[in-house]
Symmetry: C2
Subunit: 106 residues, 2 copies
DNA sequence: AACTTCTATCGTATTATTACGATAGAAAAA
DNA sequence: TTTTTCTATCGTAATAATACGATAGAAGTT
């Protein structure tokens, strides 16, 4: 057991859950907020901003890349991370629609 | 190791991540969507709607209760699950603000 | 009282996540 | 060429999450 039964759910349910999973760690929230604060791509100074080791930060960046929320462009010796505009819009749309659709009932 | 370093991040970052974690499984998305479709509290027929065992569904409901998104009122032999209006509004506010704040940069 | 119904919890197995040190590789700098 | 800088990946250890059968408890029903 132990394996998530993804195949039993719809594509949109799985996509929404997958996006939420990418946001389900404060370090990844912090990374995205840092990207927002800079309002630019980040080239090489993410590790200093976080209280985690370089290897761990790289893993979190990989998770954000996995769902497509950010992209990394190699630029010389560094990698520049940016919000992936397309996926971010999709996530915003999916999440906000979901939050609005599920309304209170009692 | 293996323990998430929650204490190194802010309260709002942790709360947002925790809410996202509660949404990070298609079964829990499906539960909330089912609540929305019925537009009422659900008393006792959640398990039949999901391709999971009763024990597993109960665990997912407990996770949604843990973050406060739903509440369960005992009503005779059954438990009636409802969206927790207050927590849901808070989640909607936190998530949408976050999604808007993090804008694309390049 | 005995039975049925519904849900939570326990126990357990499996898989996933988190974290970090060490290492490798790529590209600029010396 | 050697060195420095930056990042990804490997290896590993610990914790968390997922799933289900079995069981317990609470509240109606017969």
């Amino acid at each position: 057991m132990g394996t998530s039964k993804k195949e039993a759910f719809s594509n949109s349910q799985n996509r929404l859950a997958d996006l939420a999973k990418a946001l389900a760690h404060p370090a990844r929230i912090a990374i995205l907020e840092f990207l927002a604060k800079k309002n630019a791509c980040i080239c090489g100074d993410i590790v200093e901003e976080l209280p985690l080791s370089q290897a761990t930060v790289s893993q979190h960046l990989a998770e954000l890349k996995r769902v497509g929320l950010i992209k990394g462009d190699i630029e010389g010796p560094r990698v520049c991370y940016c919000i992936n505009q397309k996926a971010w819009s999709e996530a915003k749309q999916l999440l906000s629609q979901f939050m609005v659709t599920v309304k209170n009932c009692c």
